[in-house]
Amino acid sequence: MSVLPEQARRTLGALGRLMYDASPRTIWDRDTATLPRALREARRRYREFARQELAPRALSADRDPSSVDIPALFVRAARLGFQTEFMPPPWGTLKIASVIGGHLLLPAALKAEELCAACSGLGLALLAHDLGTGPLFVSGDLRAYTVMLGRIYREIRAGEPAIAAFAITEPGAGSDVEDTEGAARARLSCHYRRVPGGFVLDGRKCFISDGAVARWVTLFAAERGGGVESWTCFLLDSAMDGLSVGRSERKMGQRAADASEIVLEQVFVPDDRVVGAVRSGWAINRNVLNFSRPVVGAIALGIARGAFEHAAAFCGQARLAGRRLTDYQEVRLALADMLIKLSAMRATVWHATRYRFPFQAAGAIAKVFCSDTAWQVCQQAMELLGDHGTLHGNSVEKAARDARLTQIYEGTNQINRLAVFESQVGAEFR
């Protein structure tokens, strides 16, 4: 005769029962309970917003990205304080408690998981803004932080869709800009030259998330004739003369977020729009990636969780030969395996955010592990649904398509593995 955990627990004394948690609570609830109060509340608010605003639009946005008004969605997220989290009140909505508690990056990871569990396309459209403002935050340039970021946040507080985009990738140097060795020999096409009062920029950037809807762009360019050692970060206004948006890519997934080309033709950028020092762009770029890669891990985690939730719901209802799918041991094994992977992914992401400042290996580890695992989880979800898994309306095939991108952007997982090695040379690797 089998004895379920809750039945077994009742045979214990009071202290024994207290220490034996057999309650049927979700892992989500249990994990949330481990967070400081401010982050517990934040996680619930992110989830509520995602369920109300993103989930109902997920499939239609995937089918027809133009059906969703991204700036309007941005404004609704901003009203809840989700788009101004790099500055403390009253300028922004940075959670002071998370900084004091050493969880600088955890709110961003929580937000990414929740938004992307509902829809990673719409989630990315909102999250890319944090990436776009990232250089203003991590450059350590007080003027960039207070004046430039302050201005963007002021516009957002005023109800404007002041979306920022991050522009590093170039048509002929896809992964080069995310890798030390590649960058040294990269064929860069985006250049600047000094002129009185500023710089003139020419060239193209590609695959820029939110490129078509951004009002602000943090863009990296090399000195004419130079390489990444001369890279400089500029804050561009999309209304600048000579700046235009080129083609928007037709992507496999995360389709609600545009990936667009930004074209620069003799764009004059005044001196006061340089972020950090001239020629410090490479360092800023690398550190932005250190901060953003754990968040990519969280995006992957969210996508996988969404696929798992759809698969679990399906298996709880669908029948095979008269029995519920969850009555089959093979299905239970697969669902449990998915939940194990989700827990490991979350542990990896949350651990990466525990470092005071994320470093190269930490970010890359979280990104690679979570994106590879998310791809596996999404395929498992598709398999559990059988033929139904291939239908757009059941969401898991969308999750698989969405997850695949996390293995590519912010450096392919091959580049990220090399980044782990590079980061730890002199430490683990001697």
Binding site: R185, C206, L320, E330, Q379, G386, E397, Y409, L418
Partner: protein
């Protein structure tokens, strides 16, 4: 089968695919110019590759799953693989139409295409293949040997558009009965299952049967679905293999012409590893499928090998395609290079027709001494 004959089949299919299918796939739209599909399938019929239920013609011998395939499936598999190199969806259309003809024979149902149908909600174990499990089958027959009444439904019915007829297996007690019917038969309703991840050229239907009367001329000789299932599995495996081989070709071409860090991508060890691993997987998949295709007859062992091939080959091919896509980085993820289409098709093939967990169970059961 003589290797020269096999090569001739392969070459015919290759030429057809390059001439007709490749331009349809092109670079426009998510899945190409599907408005040209009718023309492409008509071309496949003219080339003798697409089965037709319309009438007896010599082509019926050599088209995909034509009469000649009863001796060996290798020619049909070669054709499917070659066509899948250009478009897995079109190849699956040929596969579905061929299976319809394999079940119904030409003239039994109206042309130009027929559907072979087996909903997988009953497939649990080897025993269920020979005898429908009680209470599990959603399409039931009642009546005697001269006429039947069909009630129930079948989902994920594969066909080459425009579908005009359907072949179904229905349970009558502990026996399977095969029936060939025009889709406009009173009591039959069909609708597309909806937007799918991949294989967009293939039509997939949900069909319901409400008091459908079947008279003697529509009743096919009762038999186990083993021969059908074996061909279904082998064909899907061949489509997956062709799709993945083309993905590898595309990744190799890209790597030979694009630069990273000032050097051709193909010189990067990380890229070499991805390509090498893909090539190795595909070599193993081809060997596995080749062995399964060698079996003569449709006995339990041959059937098991076909199921194992679907399980292993389609999975390995999907892994190979995703590695190939990775070689292209961000460009692989964009529709223009068609690698993402190949990955969507590969993902769809994994779940098509039989649940992967059921495939695993069937393989596990075999290890335990069955069938």
């Amino acid at each position: 089968m003589d290797s020269e004959v096999l090569s001739a089949f392969r070459e015919t299919a290759r030429q057809f695919a390059r001439r007709e299918v490749k331009p349809m796939v092109g670079t426009e739209g998510r899945d190409g110019r599907l408005d040209q599909l009718d023309r492409v399938l008509a071309g496949a019929g003219e080339a003798g590759l697409l089965a037709s239920g319309a009438s007896e013609t010599p082509d019926h011998e050599h088209c995909v799953w034509g009469i000649a395939s009863r001796r060996s499936p290798r020619a049909s598999l070669a054709v499917l693989e070659e066509v899948a190199r250009e478009c897995a969806g079109v190849a699956t259309c040929l596969h579905a139409a061929g299976l319809g003809l394999f079940e119904a024979r030409a003239g039994a149902v109206p042309g130009p295409t027929a559907v072979a149908l087996l909903s997988d909600d009953w497939l649990l174990d080897w025993a269920s293949i020979d005898s429908p499990p009680e209470g599990a089958v959603r399409l039931l027959a009642s009546g005697d040997g001269d006429s039947l009444r069909l009630d129930g439904e079948a989902s994920f019915v594969l066909c080459a558009p425009p579908c005009q007829s359907v072949v179904v297996y229905a349970a009558l007690g502990s026996n399977w009965h095969r029936v060939a019917l025009p889709l406009d038969t009173p009591g039959i309703r069909s609708r597309p299952v909806g937007e799918r991840c991949g294989l967009a050229a293939l039509e997939v239907l949900h069909v319901t049967f409400d008091e459908v009367r079947v008279l003697g001329d529509r009743l096919l000789h009762p038999r186990s679905p083993r021969p059908f299932l074996r061909r279904l599995m082998l064909g899907l495996s061949a489509v997956a293999l062709g799709n993945a081989r083309a993905a590898l070709d595309g990744a190799r071409s890209y790597a030979a012409t694009r630069y990273q860090g000032g050097a051709l991508i193909e010189r990067q060890p990380a890229v070499q590893l991805l390509l090498g691993e893909s090539a190795t997987r595909l070599a193993a998949a081809a060997a596995f499928l080749g062995r399964a295709a060698k079996d003569e007859g449709d006995d339990a062992e041959a059937c098991w090998r076909a199921f194992a091939a679907k399980h292993r080959v389609v999975g390995d091919c999907c892994d190979a395609v995703t590695d190939c896509l990775q070689v292209l980085g961000g460009y692989g993820y964009m529709e223009d290079y068609r690698l993402e289409k190949r990955l969507r098709d590969a993902l769809t093939l994994k779940s098509l027709a039989v649940r992967p967990d059921v495939l695993r169970r069937l393989c596990a059961e075999r290890v335990g001494g069955e069938p």
